[in-house]
């Protein structure tokens, strides 16, 4: 049987583990469940369309033409922030390649020493001192790394995210280091937009009622009723959310830390990341540097993985391939979970730079099993609680 291999350029996003969906050839990155995000879009666009259709003509003539102009600018800003939050990489940490995972394993085993048979090995925790506070770094069994401080594993997206805040279904993505400020600006501008539309709806109804009477006004502009309803209910939740995040920003805390009570003050633990100054904290979170994405989504996979990649699974362009090793954390970790395909690109990449070396990956059977099922189960239960 002859096989015709059609090699095509495979971009790295197609081979990324985790439960994200990618669009526009890797430029857009979102979570898998997008239903609530479409609802958000529908509510915002729908309400604003009704406002522009019913209220704006009247208000532009009777009050000021600046009103619809400002509403349009605000609407565009809200949409830009929403799309930026939803489509960008929240700060996903790539999983450890096999060599790195093994290196960490060896360090852990060296630190733990010999565990007598039958005894559970101690939990994998690394202590670091940050600003005179001891912070515990936990080991992520899925990503096989010690999570940096403030990072957390999102079980919905199956990724470790740096400075993880929360997974927001309304924007259809995680909120983390890279998109937190866009998320905050989205909630802030949406609050302003909601208040703006609500206010001018009332003004419009009052002004028209003076001329025509209340019931006639409602008959002439039925959209107003809908808008007022949507704005009324949105107002409480979005304004409340904005207030909550303003509070978190002023303390330089994440939602995740707040929920877990990491810096609640018991046992005298204080937030080591806070500058103890509201202005400084706000500036750091909102005006800090824009961090780059460390996931090279649009990079091309190296040639020697192309052959095996195209043979193994031709991937569809709009979804990421869930490679077989993205297992649940309850499964005992086996060294050969990472297929050689994942590791070969990195070796090949470094091989390009050095004088053509020829090497092989170590056969998986040589490596010791990485974790015991009991410790995996513990971690997964703890994860379920927090997420």
């Amino acid at each position: 049987m002859s096989a015709v291999m059609i090699t095509r350029k495979v971009r790295k996003w197609e081979k990324l583990p985790g439960k994200n969906t990618f669009c526009c050839d890797g430029r857009v990155m979102m979570a898998r469940q997008k239903g609530v995000f479409y609802l958000t879009l529908f509510l915002i666009i729908g309400t604003c369309s009704l406002f522009f259709a019913f209220e704006c003509p009247y208000l532009a003539v009777h009050l000021s033409p600046a009103i619809p102009v400002f509403a349009a600018l605000l609407f565009l800003f809200v949409m830009a922030m929403l799309l930026r939050t939803s489509f960008s990489d929240p700060g996903v940490l790539p999983r450890a390649l096999p060599e790195e995972a093994t290196f960490i394993e060896m360090e852990i085993e060296a630190a733990n020493g010999n565990v007598p048979a039958g005894q559970r090995p101690p939990p994998r925790i690394r202590n670091v001192q940050i600003n005179n506070q001891i912070v515990k770094l936990k080991y992520c069994y899925t990503c096989k790394i010690f999570r940096p401080p403030r990072a957390s594993h999102c079980s919905i997206c199956d990724n470790c995210v740096d400075r993880f805040d929360h997974h927001c279904p309304w924007v259809g993505n995680c909120v983390g280091k890279r998109n937190y400020r866009y998320f905050y600006l989205f909630t802030l501008s949406l609050s302003l937009l909601t208040i703006y539309i609500f206010t001018f709806d009332i003004v419009h109804v009052v002004m028209r009622s003076v001329d025509n009477g209340f019931l006639n006004t409602l008959k002439e502009t039925p959209g107003t009723v809908l808008e007022v309803l949507v704005c009324f209910f949105t107002l409480w939740s979005v304004v409340g959310l904005t207030g909550f995040h303003t509070y978190l920003i002023s303390l330089n805390q994440t939602t995740n830390e707040d929920i877990k009570g990491s810096w609640s003050g018991k046992n005298r633990v204080q937030n080591p990341y806070s500058h103890k100054n509201i202005i400084k904290n706000c500036c750091e979170v909102l005006c800090g540097p824009t961090y780059p994405s460390v996931l090279d989504r649009r990079g091309l996979m190296q040639d020697d993985s192309l052959v095996s990649a195209t043979c193994a699974a031709p991937s569809s362009s709009s979804s990421s391939n869930a490679t077989p090793q993205t297992t649940k954390t309850t499964a005992p970790l086996i060294p050969n979970e990472h297929t050689p395909d994942d590791a070969k690109p990195s070796i090949a990449a470094s091989a390009e730079k050095s004088p053509s070396p020829k090497e092989e990956l170590p056969p998986a059977s040589k490596l010791p099993p990485l974790a015991s099922p009991e410790t995996d189960a513990e971690t997964s239960i703890a994860k379920d609680k927090t997420h």
Partner: protein, 148 residues
């Protein structure tokens, strides 16, 4: 060295979180490199990289200006402008390439840019001459395997 080097081992320089979440790597000299490179050269490389990252993540007048300007344009300005961090990353890539060419490759070592490892580690690959006997270091017994 051409056509005769093979990968023997990899060393991973971990992040130093003592000053918070800013990107900084430990300058502790790994034992596997003891016979391969001078301590001072290694420390210089890591310290220079740390300085670059500190420059990229500095919160000061320029970052505020960039942030406010970007916010005023609803962040659309980033479609045409490169952020300061990206500019520094390019400088870092150039620096690493230079270091590899001048210092590390002649010693049979190769530094991988941390951005390719999620900014978690600096990966240093140790290559062995094919003709040489024995392994590069004691700890390579588990992870290293050389193709013959």
């Amino acid at each position: 060295m051409r056509h005769s080097a093979s990968l023997a081992n990899k060393v991973f320089i971990q992040r130093d979180y003592s000053e918070g979440t800013t990107c900084k790597f430990q300058t502790k000299f790994p034992s596997e490199l003891e016979s391969r490179i001078e301590r001072t050269l290694f420390e210089d490389t890591v310290k220079t990289l740390n300085n670059y990252y500190a420059e990229a993540e500095k919160i000061g007048g320029q970052s505020y200006l960039e942030g406010c300007l970007a916010c005023a344009t609803a962040y659309l300005i980033f479609l045409c402008m490169e952020t300061r961090y990206e500019k520094v990353l390019k400088k870092i890539a150039k620096y690493i390439q230079e270091q590899n060419e001048k210092i590390y490759a002649p010693r049979g070592l190769l530094i991988t840019d941390p951005i390719e490892r999620g900014m978690r580690v600096i990966e240093i690959s140790i290559y062995e001459d094919r003709g040489s006997s024995g392994s590069s270091s004691g700890s390579s017994s588990v992870s290293g395997s050389t193709a013959r």
